[in-house]
């Protein structure tokens, strides 16, 4: 399949700090891509560029053959959904209302259609958030909030899902459920790009791991290749051992 995203020499600086230095890569539909790397490596910035939220980069970043900055917000939002790590809401919106906002790129006028509500129901049940749909978003736990935010992105019925550390607040069961859901979405042809620090989850579920180090791509390969002990040592500065158990790869960190 042809690439959805084509990035060529993408650079980004905030003042004197060089956040990204010449990132070149293609992203294709139907794959789960993990973005990993140390703090400040440029992961979230790269994700923001893919979501067209960081327009100040140089180089090219095309989505569907067109520069991401040239898409209208509305058209892009029908294809690309961005899931922030957390969301601070000041006002008493219910979880359901937050998810409903995902339907914005499809709505004209003031009110949602029955079809919009069906997508909301579907998204809420996919992320196991139906039980608290009527609750004030601000009263939810961190993990519950994260599931609602994910549901809001799924309600956009996107072709691309961009997630910024989606497992941060999730309990163990929901971390696994999330990655199983992401896998299923990939099976349906979605491109999923997730920033994460959990290398074991990345190794278990991703098709491809992109390691960023100091704003440059340090590795871009299948998990088994990208997450070798030497690579982890050089990128993260941590001594690690890669072991095999239950037919899959485990990364064990030395203290």
């Amino acid at each position: 399949m042809s690439a959805l995203y084509e990035l060529q020499g993408v650079c980004m600086r905030y003042g004197a700090a060089e956040i990204l230095r010449g990132v070149t890569l293609d992203l294709s539909p139907g794959s789960l891509v993990t973005l990993a790397g140390p703090n400040g490596a440029g992961k979230s910035t790269l994700l923001g560029i893919l979501a067209a939220l960081r327009p100040g980069f140089s180089g090219t970043c095309r989505f569907g053959g067109r520069d991401v900055r040239q898409w209208t917000r509305r058209a892009l939002a029908r294809d690309v959904a961005f899931v922030p790590q957390s969301l601070k809401v000041e006002f008493p919106f219910t979880a359901e209302q937050v998810v409903l906002m995902g339907r914005t790129p499809y709505c004209d006028g003031l009110f949602e259609s029955d079809a919009d509500w069906r997508e909301v129901d579907r998204a809420l049940s996919l992320t196991d958030a139906v039980a608290f749909r009527k609750r004030d978003f601000r009263t939810l736990s961190g993990g519950e909030k994260q599931r609602v935010i994910l549901a809001a992105a799924l309600a956009q019925t996107p072709r691309v899902l961009l997630l910024d550390e989606p497992t941060t607040w999730l309990d163990l069961r929901h971390q696994i459920a999330l990655y199983q859901l992401l896998r299923r979405l990939c099976g349906e042809g979605m491109l999923v790009v997730a920033v994460t620090h959990d290398l074991n989850l990345a190794a278990a579920y991703s098709d491809r791991v992109i390691l960023l180090d100091g704003g440059a791509v340090a590795a871009d390969a299948v998990p088994g290749e990208a997450l070798s002990a030497e690579r982890i040592q050089s990128v993260f500065g941590v001594t690690a051992r890669v072991a095999e158990a239950d037919g899959r790869q485990w990364i064990l960190y030395a203290g």
């Binding site: 006002f91 209302q97 914005t104 009110f111 509500w117 129901d121 049940s125």
Partner: protein, 335 residues
């Protein structure tokens, strides 16, 4: 799982109730007053009942309702725009610009051949200048965010307030009295033609603000949140600031600053009905109108023939009500 009906019905029900309340106030408030005036006599065209009801009280009630509607709509709008539940129509400086303009015109004592008091003109010019200045300063390069808008607005606000104090210190006793009186805010009867021209601006602006209600929801959550869901945030921020300032600036020119309406009405409604702006904005508009008209009616009757500044009453009536509302919902969150 059954598909839920859209919130349309809920909005329409709330709208019907709020409209009924506003209509009731519009009908009853003109009948209340210190001097007795009867409706049958007024309708029969008998003087002075006709003049008291139709030329003094009715226009005053209408102006109070327009002012209340604009202030609480602008308050709700700025709260969404700045994601700050404590924002008021005055946070972003336009009313101080208006006040500065009015103070200047009182001090300079122009005598222009205008069909309305000259400080109205001053107030409108002051508001327009501040509006342009804040928009300019708030856009860093081509981009604007709630934060840069807030910084610019609050700064200009402080500068205007300082200039008012500075100018005030040079005023004569008479001028000082009119300045203080203006700054207290108050609703004076105006002729129907002025009310009509005020409405001609307010209705389309308010209508457009209400039409964007769904997008304010997203902006009230966050700028990136709104952008990544297809909202043109840059445009929406500018439009929201302009619309809210226009509503506030116009009303302030006529009535002077009247506090608390723009804070308390949206707050009370948000606590009761949640944050969906499709419900919050129209209800704020209608109940803000009713609330200010009630306050003004009390202001002109309780101590008659003396009048209490209406801004005092909005706080005195609204404050305790608000505290009661907070206490009755202790289980839920503070805001």
């Amino acid at each position: 799982m059954p598909v839920e009906s859209a919130p349309r019905r809920r909005v329409l029900t709330a709208l019907a109730v709020c409209s009924a309340i506003a209509a009731l106030v519009l009908l009853v408030a003109p009948l209340i007053g210190s001097s007795s005036a009867s409706l049958p006599r007024a309708l029969a065209g008998i003087s002075p009942d006709r003049e008291v009801l139709f030329e003094l009280r009715l226009p005053r009630v209408i102006l109070a309702m327009i002012a209340g509607a604009c202030l609480s709509l602008a308050g709700a709008l700025f709260q969404a725009l700045l994601r700050d539940a404590l924002a008021t129509p005055y946070t972003l400086g336009v009313s101080s610009g208006s006040a500065l303009g009015a103070v200047c015109s009182i001090l300079l004592g122009f005598r222009l051949a205008l069909p309305f008091p000259v400080h109205w003109l001053g107030a409108i010019i002051g508001a327009a200048l501040v509006l342009g200045l804040v928009l300019h300063l708030g856009s860093e390069g081509a981009r604007m965010s709630s934060f840069t808008l807030l910084l610019a607005g609050v700064t200009i606000n402080s500068i205007c307030l300082a200039l008012i104090l500075f100018l005030h210190s040079f005023a004569t006793l008479m001028q000082s009295f009119s300045i203080t009186r203006w700054l207290m805010g108050g609703i004076d009867p105006v002729d129907l033609k002025t009310l009509a021209s005020l409405l001609a601006v307010v209705v389309p602006v308010a209508g457009f603000v209400l039409w964007k209600a769904r997008e304010w929801n997203l902006l009230a959550v966050g700028e990136e949140w709104a952008e990544s869901r297809g909202v043109d945030v840059q445009w929406l921020l500018r439009f929201g600031y302009l619309a809210g300032s226009l509503l506030t600036g116009l009303v302030t020119a006529f009535t002077g600053p009247i506090g608390f309406v723009g804070l308390i009405v949206p707050h009370a409604l948000r606590m009761r009905f949640g944050a969906d702006h499709r419900l919050l904005l129209p209800c704020s508009l209608l109940l803000g109108a009713a609330f200010l008209a009630i306050c003004d009616t009390v202001a002109r009757t309780v101590l008659a023939p003396a009048e209490i500044p209406v801004g005092v009453l909005t706080a005195l009536l609204g404050g305790p009500f608000f505290i009661w509302l907070l206490r009755s919902r202790r289980r839920s969150l503070w805001l």
